[in-house]
């Protein structure tokens, strides 16, 4: 063999094809194999809005971006080193983020006249042949034909045989990165355990792709990316929705209070329902309601009965839950509302990411109705933060909104597993046993203003609660003016008191004497952190604060901001957290905003900061 090996610290690969081509599977398999190998990874699946946009067209392109490295990887990368394009549309949509001299692996069969036409490219202007790709290293193969040939012996129908081409591509890329096929072979065997021929064909396609890489000598060199150095421990690859589901479930196990999940399917939140509904063994009830309102209301009914009510949704569904969140606030019952944000308003950009529901989360209800709002910053952090959502809800008897988004939901990273013994204790305020010592008052309060809730079935504590304003302590209906003001303030203070139990805010980078500060929240963590790290390496002393607790804010945040004249707030919306920062701290912060349904690129953040600090 004549190929040489190129050592790289990190490489970004983009798999792109028609949404029917199975590139999501190719990407996830490559990601899992790389994680198992020991690379750090960050993934970014980018789905088309339609389940089945017309085959071969530009809107039908599905992509999976993957960043692998031998040290810490925080984002899926701004630009790619390798672009795998299964058809002309996939190349056209994705070419603009391929690095100069980057590698293109193209399927010739996806560039025939028909595919060119569908991609709105002139038939006589095939980019594979017209010289327009001269700035890149282009490798082409008749992937569809080669796949069919490879699996011919198993006698699948034409369509089914063609469908194996994603495995052929996977094999080819495995060869390019010198990866072991075993994980994917195991996966295929499990996935198609009941369809032997399909399993055999896919394995054959995978192996054929690998061998083609080896024998065709199409690539000049292979990549080698060493395993990252990790702390000792047990790891797995995890995406945000899996982590959210596990965090909720873990908190339920730790607290001994079983979950009632009342929910209604919506992208990108549905996978949490799918995951949790598998775990009935944990005494978990999952209820797919007739709509989001019934979802949250059934969860409230369950919390009232002494379970942990959970509801999961995204923007449009959260809008429907609004009135019931107000009810839970009045009832002062624990409830977790997971909001996996997507582009809005209305149906908006269902499959794209955005952080545009922050103001809705903070303020989107009638009346004075403060809500605890917390946000995860990485896919794995969804585990810790959804766990914290449960802990806060149970310990403070409040509804809590947990914010994630499409980017975190579907993005994956290696995660050092945190078993329950490493997670904090969780207490709760349900009374389940008769207690003769004192008369039960439903709205008597503990020092932190939480209340004790006697669940139905507890003898001698029968009482009524509801959405009408209640008298302090007794919980009886009250229209008294002074009482209403008192209750509004108590409910507000109760939310503020949550801050006493939260970790203090820290700087991710820099300190209070740095030259400028950038504040972010949620899924922008990786991009901001990497941008700041690079700016600091270039000699700019920028500090980075990343907020996970947004209401209430960490108690030391004001003090941390004090020294800064220059404060940037970076978020994927038209300026939402920035209003809170200006409102609470009277800081003339400056927004760094992107509203394109895509995460920040590192360079976008760096450029704005550099430009502003000149």
């Amino acid at each position: 063999m004549s190929e040489t090996t190129k050592r790289e610290q990190h490489v970004v690969i983009k798999f792109a094809g028609d949404s029917g081509d199975g590139v999501q599977l190719t990407g996830t398999q490559f990601a899992e194999t790389s994680a198992l190998f020991g690379n750090d990874i960050a993934t970014f699946p980018d789905f088309p809005a339609e389940i089945r946009a017309p085959i071969g067209t530009l809107p039908g392109v599905s992509g999976f971006q993957l960043h692998i490295g031998d040290n810490e990887i925080l984002t899926p990368g701004d630009t790619y080193d390798v672009l795998v394009a299964l058809n002309a549309a996939a190349l056209k949509v994705n070419l603009k983020f391929l690095k100069p001299n980057g590698i293109i692996i193209a399927n010739n069969d996806g560039f025939d006249d028909k595919n060119l036409r569908l991609a709105k490219i002139d038939e006589n202007d095939n980019p594979l042949h017209n010289g327009s790709l001269d700035a890149y290293q282009v490798f082409t193969a008749d992937i569809t034909k080669l796949t069919k040939l490879a699996v011919a012996e198993f006698g699948l129908g034409n369509k089914e045989a063609e469908r194996c081409k994603n495995m052929y591509v996977l094999g080819l890329v495995y060869w390019l990165f010198d990866r072991n096929l075993q994980h994917s072979i195991d996966f295929i065997e499990k996935q198609f355990s009941k369809k032997e021929l399909v399993a055999k064909s896919n394995i054959k396609a995978l192996q054929a792709g690998y061998h083609f890489g080896e024998t065709s000598e199409m690539f000049g060199n292979r990549f080698e990316i060493a395993a990252a150095v990790y702390k000792k421990g047990t790891y797995r690859s995890i995406n945000g929705n899996q982590a959210t589901a596990l965090g909720l479930l873990g908190a339920s196990v730790k607290s001994g209070i079983p979950i009632f999940l009342g929910t209604y399917p919506i992208t990108p939140a549905s996978d949490i329902l799918h995951e949790l509904s598998k775990h009935k063994g944990f005494d978990l009830i999952s209820f797919q309601a007739e709509d989001e309102i019934a979802g949250i209301c059934s969860a409230i009914g369950a919390s009232y009965g002494g379970r942990l009510g959970v509801t999961t949704s995204s923007g449009p569904g959260i809008a429907l839950k609004t009135e019931a969140i107000g009810l839970a606030t009045m009832l002062e019952l624990p409830l977790v509302i997971c909001n996996i944000q997507r582009g809005g308003p209305s149906t908006g950009l269902p499959t794209k990411t955005e952080q545009s529901d922050l103001l809705q989360a903070l303020y989107g209800r009638n009346g004075e109705c403060p809500l605890v709002v917390i946000a995860a910053s990485t896919p794995a952090d969804c585990y810790e933060m959804s766990y914290m959502a449960v802990k806060i809800a149970l310990e403070h008897t409040v509804p809590v909104m947990f914010l994630s988004d499409g980017y975190l939901a579907n993005g994956a990273q290696p995660w050092m597993i945190k078993t329950l013994d490493e997670m904090p204790e969780i207490s709760s305020h349900f009374i389940r046993q008769a207690n003769d010592s004192k008369e039960y008052q439903p709205y008597a309060r503990n020092a932190d203003l939480s209340r004790e809730h006697a669940v139905p079935g507890t003898p001698g504590m029968e009482h009524r609660i509801g959405g009408l304003e209640k008298e302090n302590i007794t919980g009886n209906i009250s229209y008294d003016a002074a009482n209403h003001e008192l209750m509004v303030k108590l409910r507000a203070q109760k939310v503020l008191n949550v801050a006493d139990t939260l970790p203090l805010q820290t700087f991710e980078h820099g300190n209070k004497d740095s030259k400028a500060l950038i504040i972010g929240w949620g899924s922008t963590f990786g991009s901001i952190s990497t941008a700041v790290k690079e700016l600091r390496e270039e000699g700019l002393d920028i500090a980075h604060i990343h907020l996970k607790y947004i209401n209430p804010l960490p108690s030391n945040l004001g003090e941390m901001l004090q020294n800064f004249d220059k404060v940037f707030v970076a978020e994927l919306n038209n300026g939402q957290l920035i209003r809170l920062i200006r409102d609470k701290f009277l800081k003339d912060a400056q927004g760094i905003n992107k509203i394109q349904g895509q995460p920040f690129q590192i360079t976008e953040i760096k450029d704005i900061i550099k430009h502003n600090l000149q």
């Binding site: 196990v253 009830i285 009524r464």
Partner: protein, 337 residues
């Protein structure tokens, strides 16, 4: 479901210290009193009853019963009750709702709750008006009705709640009326003992905004001729025993009863869904009396809470902490030394 050791209590024990805020003469009082009579006769202890309501005059009822209760938000009581009942199947959970609450804003939840069949008792107080918001027409108001929001008459066709419940695959569908406490109590007991979702429509007079809506069915003179009280296995007889109903094909017809001979009359069969549907359609025909009683009861369908509990039992894991920690590792984990 019965609780093992029921503690005895009386109607008096059900009183609360809350001042009742309904208008004097409102039909809601009679319903409250009937419930207070029935509860002590049932198999649950006082603390195991829960009344969940939406919003409306009717939905204030939980405040006046010293059981557990939740006065929630408009239209959503069924959904809340479903979450509670499936979480705590040993409780006796009742939903108190109005015609606007259940059939307008809460219509979606009502039909889906009925089809799922949780073991709830839904009492729908039908006064054919929005009481609490002071007199707009409701989804059960008759066409042409003059109200505050329909000064020259409504143009909306009303719902037939019984037909809606049957069409939603309700497993227990009954009708009673505020002015007949004995009948109410009997029906509430039947609803309680039905395993599955019971829907009871209660004709209730709103003497302030829709007085006399059911007068011809409640006044002594007209009641015998405008109503028929059905009982399982008994012929359909009304008008003080002088008239009966026969079924000609799918059509119900009134016939005279001569010399007390009820042969050939329609015999009520609660388990017959087709006949229940025909009974529900008496609503459309003024010549036919309005049926009261248990129009349909099917105990064969398993309850939602029963099915959910069976799944939980089947899958139950004893050492959850161990199982959870294993679950974290189950998906392709790897060790770093």
């Amino acid at each position: 479901m019965e609780t093992a050791h029921k503690t005895i209590f009386t109607s008096k024990d059900l009183e609360t210290d809350q001042e009742v805020r309904w208008c004097p003469g409102c039909g809601d009082y009679a319903i409250l009193n009937s419930l207070k009579k029935v509860l002590p006769e049932l198999d649950h202890s006082k603390e195991d009853f829960v009344f969940v309501s939406g919003i409306g005059c009717s939905s204030r009822l939980p405040y006046y019963m010293d059981t557990y209760g939740m006065h929630s938000i408009h239209g959503r009581a069924t959904a809340i009750a479903l979450g509670l009942k499936t979480s705590r199947p040993e409780l006796s959970v009742w939903v108190i709702t109005g015609d606007g609450d259940a059939l307008s804003i809460g219509g979606n939840h009502l039909i889906h709750t009925l089809r799922r069949n949780p073991n709830l008792n839904i009492l729908l107080f039908n006064n054919q008006i929005y009481g609490l918001t002071k007199g707009q027409y409701s989804p059960t108001s008759e066409i042409g009705k003059i109200t505050k929001s329909s000064p020259i008459g409504t143009v909306d066709s009303p719902f037939n709640p019984i037909a809606l419940a049957l069409g939603s695959n309700g497993t227990f569908v009954a009708r009673t009326l505020d002015r007949d406490p004995k009948h109410q109590q009997e029906i509430y007991k039947r609803a309680y003992h039905h395993s599955g979702c019971s829907l009871v429509e209660v004709y209730q007079n709103c003497n302030v905004f829709n007085d006399g809506a059911f007068e011809i069915m409640t006044e002594k003179d007209s009641k015998p001729f405008t109503t028929i009280f059905v009982e399982h296995g008994k012929p359909l007889v009304f008008a003080n025993g002088t008239k009966g109903i026969v079924l000609e094909g799918l059509k119900a017809k009134v016939v005279d009863i001569i010399n007390g001979n009820t042969e050939g009359l329609w015999i009520h069969d609660e388990s017959d869904s087709m006949k229940a549907y025909i009974l529900s359609r008496f609503f459309d025909n003024d010549e036919l009396p309005r049926p009261f009683g248990v129009l349909y009861a099917d105990a064969s369908k398993p309850s939602l809470d029963g099915l959910i509990q069976a799944q939980l039992k089947e899958k139950r894991i004893d050492n959850k902490t161990l199982a959870f920690n294993d679950l974290l590792k189950s998906k392709n984990s790897w060790e770093v030394q």
